[in-house]
Structures are given as C-alpha cells and as structure tokens.
Amino acid sequence: MSTAYQIVVCAGIVPDPLQTLEPVASPTGPALKNEMMLPAVLDPWASHALYEAANLAKNAPGSKVWLVSLGPKAKLQQVMMTVAQRVPFELVALDGPASGFTEAAEVAAALAEVIQTIPGLDRSRLLVFGGWESASRGAGATMQMVGERLGIVDQFQGVDELKVNPDGSLDILERIEGGKHQVSKCVGPPALLGWATGNLPEPKNNPQVGMTNMRAVMPALQKAKAVKLAGEGLTFASVTLPKQMRETKVVKDKLPDEIAAEIVEWIKK
C-alpha cells in the first residue's frame, strides 16, 4: 500500500532570471536596485521541487502538498497568480524580505517555525522539498538548516530523481562532481530533498487548479505572519558587480577558413 505523503515545499521568490540586477546600499544593508519593481518568479529550482511534489502526490493518493514561501506579501500574491494554475497546493505564507542578502540561518528558522505550525503534520509521512540553491542567495544552505531544525537527518541535495519503491523506500539520485549522480536508498520519510532540475516538464496551466488553489491563497496571504530578518552579526563591506568589461576584438571580414585556422591555433595554445 502506498504512503500518503505530506510534502512541504519551501520555495522563495526571486527576480525573473532575465532581469538586469544591480546592487545598491540601503539603510538595512545591500539591496537590489528597483527591487520591488523587478518582476518576480518562484525560485527556479524550488519550482522543480514543487512540480516533483505535485507529481508524487498525484501518484500517492491521499498525499498533500504545502508551499511554504517567505517574501513581501504583495510580491508573493503576484507570483502566486503564475504558480497557482500549475499544480495543487496549499500556501503557507510568511511576509518578509525575499532578498538574496538575507541570512540563510534566519530564513531557515522562520521556515522551520512555520512548518511546525502546519496542523496534523506527521513525521512518518513527511517529505520536505526545496531547491538545492536559490537564484538569489545562491548558497544551498537554507534547506539543510530547516531539516536540522525539524530533526531530519536523511537529507539529499542536487536531487534529479526520486523513485518510490513498492516497499516504501526511496531511491534518490543526487548530482555530484563530473556530471555523475550518487544513488542512495532511504527507508522512507521523514526526508529532506533539495532538488536540482529533476525530470518533469513544467506543468501546463490549469484554470481549475488555479481557481481551487486561490480559495486558500488569499486567506493564507492575509494571515501571513510578518518576519523580520535582522542579519545579526553579518556585515557587508561591499557588494559589487563584477568589473570584467573586456576589450572585445570584433573580427568581421575574415573568411570562415581563416577564422577556423585562428580558432584551432588558439585552442591548441
């Protein structure tokens, strides 16, 4: 008999990847220029985690997916309109900064605390999902700390595949060096998985799913607890864009054969 999982997906919001980002100093530390104006998306790797969670829940009847997200309420609301049509979930929202310059340990504390308030959480069915790195802080540290706070010591990062065996054990593929995957077997929940890309295509928009999700999204946003992230003990001496403007030599009038010869010579050098 398959397990009905409780899958908690931690996913923040980040600037739409194609936006131009520039750091600025603010009274509370570094920030992005026009941060509130930049279009936001659900963190890409965490999005994969959400899709994997939904897929797992679909195949394990009785399962449920929560999406735990910390970000400015207005931005969260906006991002939910593009996410909520994809897969069914219940939002657990925290109102606070989504900046990459926030401290992972403080974010983890807030996430773990709110996860523990989810009613009826059962460790024997609990899977905590997230992205293995955010596109903002890009540290790959928050999920491990959330796991520790929840007392989960079966943790996996850079996950590309999760397979549930008939005996309920989990086969997990994690990215390691050299384009390889480490294959692990875990006896079952509770476990924490920081997802890389996974194998699922992006789900299609489903208006029915959207309408159902939204009934809970708005109330969740309304009762989102405000979270202050003080960045205690952390000092930024500087935040800069890499200065690596290069003098580009533009070669326009050479024949392909000449260019090829030049490239081969350069490769061999």
Partner: protein, 657 residues
C-alpha cells in the same frame, strides 16, 4: 491554406469545462477599471455577497480575468494622463504608492527640424523649415527644435500624471486581487469567444452545444456556415502542448472552455476576441478600423546630471519623418519613458519603428538629454487610431466591449488610458445594476445600462469632438495638424475632411517610395540581397537614402536584438502554436514590399523561402503591427489583410513599460 493543426476542434478532443459568472479577456487599463469598480461592491461589509453567484450559490459572483502576457503589467506602455477616471476610482490615490508615478510639471511641444537632411519633407514643410531657420534669432529655436509658443488646451495634461503603465497595472492588480473577489491569471491567453446559436457544416444545424466558429484571425474556418442570433457564452483558452502549427504534441492539454453569463472583452486593438467579434458581427455602418500606429518606447536611466525634472512632458513632431510623433516623459529618480509613434498614414513600405526611434533619440534636441543614458526597458504596442470611428458593437448577448478595442481612445487629445479605465468602470456599474436586478446580460439590458452610461459620459462627448479631427492627415501632415487644431478648437464642429484608406491601399512599392533617391534597379538589388541573407531591407535602403549609421554604444544605442534581450527581456514559453500566420502564402510570394518584415518590432518576422516570411515566436513582443502592416488585402474581407495575429503567449518580461 490553413494548416490542419489549426482546425479549431477535432471532434475527438474532449475539452475540460469550468463555469464562472463573469470572464474577462485581457488585463489592461479597461479591465482594471472594470475589476476595481466591481470588486469593491461584490460583498457587503460583513463579508456576505451582495448578490449570489449563479454557478456557486452562497458565494459572490465568480469573476475571472485571463491575461495573455506572462505577468500583470508586462507589455503596456508608459503614459501621461489626466487621470480623471483613475482618480474617481481611487480618490485617495497616493502617487508614492505607485513606483515611477510623477505629477505633470512641465509640458512642451516641439517641432523638430531635420538636422541631417534625410527626412522626407513636403515642399510646404521644407518652406516652413526654411522660414524657421531664417527667423531663428526671433523664435524659440534651440538644437534644431522649435518650441511651440502656444499649444491648445485640449493637448494639455496639466494636473495629470506621468505613469509607468506596467507599474501602475501591477499596483492595481494587487489592489483588485487583495479584495479576494476576483482572480487575474496572467500567462493564460484566451483563444476565442465561445458562441451559441451558430451553424457549422459539420453539424449542419443550429448547434445545440457551443461551437466556436472562428479562428482568431477573423478568417472564417472552412466549416463556417452562419449564425442565427449568436450569443457569447464564455471563452476558450489556448491549447497547450502543441507544435508550432498547433497540432497536439507531448503534454497536449486542450484549452479549457470557461463558461460565463458575461464575457468582458478588453483585449485591446489587436486582441483575438475583439477581432473575432468584429468579423462575426461586423462594425456599425460607416465605422472602420483603418487607422493605426505602432508605438515603441525605451525606458532610460538618464545621466546623473540630467536637468530634466520629474513630471516633464515633451511631445515632438516633424522628425525623423514628418509623420512620426515622439514623446519623452520623466519619472522620478532620473528615469524617462521615451519613444515614437509610426502611424499607418506614413506611407512608407520600410516604416521601421526601431530604426526611426534611434534616429529620433539622436536628434540634437533630445540627444543632449539622452547622451550617457542607459537602456532599462523597451517595448512596443499597436494603437488603434480610429478612435470612436472604430467603435464596434459595444454589446451583444453575453458580452460587452471596453477599452481601446471598443474605440474609446481619444485621437485628438492622444489620451487612451483614462478613457479605457472609464469604460471599464461604467461597465462595472452597469453589471452591478443588472446583477442586483437579477436581469440577464442580454444585448438590450447591456445597452440600457452600460452603453447608456457610456454615451452620457465625457468619454463619449470628447470622442465626438475627436471623431473627424485626424481626417486631414489623409492629405498630408501639415493639413492633418491644421485639421486637428480646427476640430479641437471648434469642439468638433469643424474638421478637414479626408477619407481614411485601408492600410494595404496606402503602401507604395519600394521602387516608387525611393524614386528620385535610389534608382529602382538598385532598390531591387538591395532588397534581394538583404532578403537572401534573411534580414530586413530597411537599414540598407535608409542608409543608401542618406540616413547615417547608428553609432552603437552598448548602453542606449544598441542593436535591435539587444533591445529585445537587454530591454524587453523577451521570451516565450514552449508548447504553444505560432500566433502569427501568413494566411495566403500565394499573396506573400507575389508581395514585393514585405512590410511585415520591415516593421516587425521584434525582428520576429524575417524573409523566408519563396517569399513567404518566417515567424520566430520567441522574439515576438505581441505588438500586433503585422496585423495591419501588410500590403495584401484578404481575399475574404477587404478591411483585413493577409496576416493573422492570433492569441499567443510570451513577449515582454519587463514591468517598467
């Protein structure tokens, strides 16, 4: 002619269905006005519904809005507006809440002289230019620009606001949704309206169920026979998981049918549902949508030492071509929105907006402000320039039309957002009245409520003044300007007459257009060479005709593709069909101008095999210029041309426009 994949429905496709009370198409200023007004009045103070939903008894009416763009506020334009209707909806409006908003502080209208001699000016205009040059010691002329000492009141926006529509729409979207009574879904294009009481050849009888009959192009499907008192009963969303031609592929997910008692059509001047309804119902007598313009803009970080104050509003005309109008609006924090409009009455077969925009920016009067600036965002959009004369049937059984696609734009004052918002708000009041009276959304009931409100409003009276104001442009720019002044100052009683031609009737051949400047043989040689290389010909032709090359600086003067990526962050999600389709390849093969290629705002349309252009969905910014920049008439409908501009996803990913 039409690929099999585009047949609307193979009978075997089972489409999911969802029921709502009201479904809106497109989240632009009009729908925003509608939802803002409606959402505030759907529930009582104690949270109980003012009226009950017909599809979910006990709850307030279920109101859904589907927006094509990938997020709210992507792909609309920066404006200066009197904001009368906006203030009515938000009496407490605090500009500080809306990023990039500034009160209008300085207004100038400038006539730009041609500093390089490449502009195509009439003899009359040349004479005027010479006079200005001769008397420049006595006139307010600086940097090849004459500041008009006086401008008529109807052109002023004092008391108004400079806005980024993207930021404003995001702000409104948040306000509206936080009421919890309406849902706005971006990234979800509506393919077409669902119709009832229509006949298809497949059924050969009045369809008992819902049968969408029309393609978004406005071109009827081969199965179309006719409709008897057609009724709109909702919308169909776009199919997902299909190939470029629309055939089901991996992950095929047929577009859902959303049934609703009322469909609110606010999908703009080139929206698919608006096009479909225009085709189905036709336009009222003497109405037409022949006048268009494509607007393109940059959002720019001005240099640190800019003297321009927030709220500065500059409007220009005269350069780079006399027909091209320009604008520069200054937001707070040294940010400016600036751009040009290229209208359909600029009779050029190479009317490239991007290239002209660069020449406009390089005009000495403007470049002194822009030099050292940096591109932040970029975008383009089509404007319906027919105004009230392009007004369609505003209502019918089950639907109502609002905003720019409903002919609300005032072509005399150059104002559209405020008017669009007002029409949305008027519809909302009408809908509430009907809901409370438990009256159905029939044509008669909507006429007695919405249309009646609209006719009694300033939107209508001002549109009447504007209705013929631009006809003079059919005879030339100078005549057009005089005509506008006459109409504006006489309250619409006077105007210079002129019969607007259909866009395709106006396009001269390349050889004729460049006659006297480039020998016809050379024009053909340049064109053929460019098309053989898969690129548009305007750059080569314009440079041969005297326009200087653009000195790219990688900051503000960037290649067209860089504007897409650096500025517009243009992208398209996979799994959708091409939304630009060349319906009659045989006409494309014969076409010598390829205006669609030359004008394409994203270089998404390029010369293709055997003369039929290629379309690259990933570069399309959904400006819709291809819809009316075509030199071939549709064989089925002389008011339309040979390109279909359908519902599609993707486009701009910037909310600063």
């Amino acid at each position: 002619m039409i690929e099999p994949g585009f047949q609307t429905d193979a009978p075997t496709i089972e489409r999911p269905r969802m029921d709502a009370d009201i479904v809106c198409v497109g989240f632009g200023p009009a729908t925003a006005g509608f939802l803002t007004t409606l959402s505030k009045q759907l529930t009582n103070a104690d949270g109980t519904p003012v009226v009950e939903s017909a599809v979910m008894p006990g709850l307030p009416p279920q109101v859904l809005c589907y927006e094509r763009a990938d997020d709210i506020g992507f792909g609309v334009s920066g404006v200066v507006t009197k904001a009368r209707a906006l203030r009515e909806s938000f009496p407490e409006l605090d500009k500080a809440d809306i990023p990039m908003a500034a009160p209008v502080s300085v207004e100038k209208v400038l006539y730009l002289l041609d500093p390089i001699g490449a502009s195509r000016r009439s003899t009359l205009l040349k004479l005027a230019d010479e006079m200005i040059q001769a008397f420049k010691w006595a006139l307010p002329v600086e940097d090849h620009a004459l500041k008009l000492p006086w401008t008529p009141d109807f052109l002023h926006k004092h008391g108004g606001m400079v806005l980024s529509m993207g930021q404003f729409m995001q702000w409104v979207g948040a306000q509206v949704q936080s009421t919890g009574t309406v849902q706005i879904w971006p990234g979800t294009p509506v393919k077409e309206a669902l119709l009832e009481n229509c006949v298809t050849s497949a059924s050969n009888s009045v369809a008992a169920d819902v049968s969408p009959l029309y393609l978004n192009s406005g071109k009827p499907e081969p199965t179309h026979v006719g409709c008897y008192k057609p009724r709109v009963v909702g919308v169909r969303l776009l199919d997902q998981g299909v190939t470029k031609s629309g055939a089901p592929a991996d992950g095929f997910s047929p577009g859902m049918d959303i049934h609703a008692a009322l469909t609110v059509v606010g999908d703009g001047p080139v929206g698919p549902v608006g096009q479909q309804l225009d085709e189905l119902f036709g336009l009222p007598p003497d109405h037409h949508t022949r006048d268009w313009a494509v607007g393109m803009k940059f959002v720019v970080d001005l240099p640190a030492d800019t003297p321009l104050k927030p709220g500065t509003v500059l409007h220009t005309f005269g350069y780079p071509e006399p027909e091209i109008f320009g604008f520069l609006y200054v937001h707070p924090d040294r940010v400016a929105s600036l751009g040009i409009f290229v209208p359909s009455w600029f009779d050029s077969p190479v009317r490239t907006t991007y290239r002209y925009l660069q020449h406009w920016m390089l005009h000495p009067y403007l470049w002194r402000y822009l030099k050292g600036g940096k591109l932040r965002s970029w975008g383009a959009k089509t404007l319906g320039e027919s105004g009230r004369r392009g007004e369609p049937h505003l209502v019918g059984d089950g639907y109502a039309r609002i905003g720019e696609g409903s002919g609300s734009t005032n072509v005399l004052t150059g104002s559209g957002v405020d008017e669009a918002w007002a029409t949305g708000a008027q519809l909302a009041e009408a809908v509430l009245e009907l809901l409370k009276a438990r009256k159905p959304f029939t044509k008669e009931n909507l006429e007695a409520t919405y249309v009646q409100r609209r006719r009694a409003s300033w939107v209508e009276s001002e549109a009447r003044v504007a209705e013929q104001s631009r006809d003079g442009f059919q005879r030339g720019v100078v005549t057009g300007m005089v005509g506008m002044a006459l109409a504006g100052l006489s309250g619409g009683r006077l105007a210079i007459p002129g019969k607007p031609l259909r866009p395709w009737e106006r396009i001269p051949s390349l050889e004729d257009y460049f006659r006297g400047r480039i020998p016809p043989d050379e024009v053909r040689a340049i064109r053929d060479d460019c098309y053989a290389r898969g690129v548009s010909a305007h750059a080569a032709l314009m440079e041969r005709a005297g326009w200087p090359t653009i000195p790219y600086d990688g900051q503000l003067l960037v290649s067209h593709q860089d504007a897409l990526l650096l500025g517009g962050k243009v992208q398209a999600p996979p799994g959708y069909a091409d939304h630009v389709v060349f319906l009659y390849p045989e006409l494309c093969q014969k076409c010598g101008t390829k205006l669609c290629v030359e004008v394409c705002s994203g270089q998404a349309i390029t010369p293709g095999e055997n003369g039929v252009p290629n379309f690259d969905r990933e570069k399309c910014v959904h400006c819709g210029a291809c819809l009316w920049n075509c030199a071939s008439a549709s064989p089925e409908n002389p008011e339309r041309m040979a390109v279909a501009f359908r519902a599609g996803t993707g486009g701009l990913h910037s909310a600063e426009n």
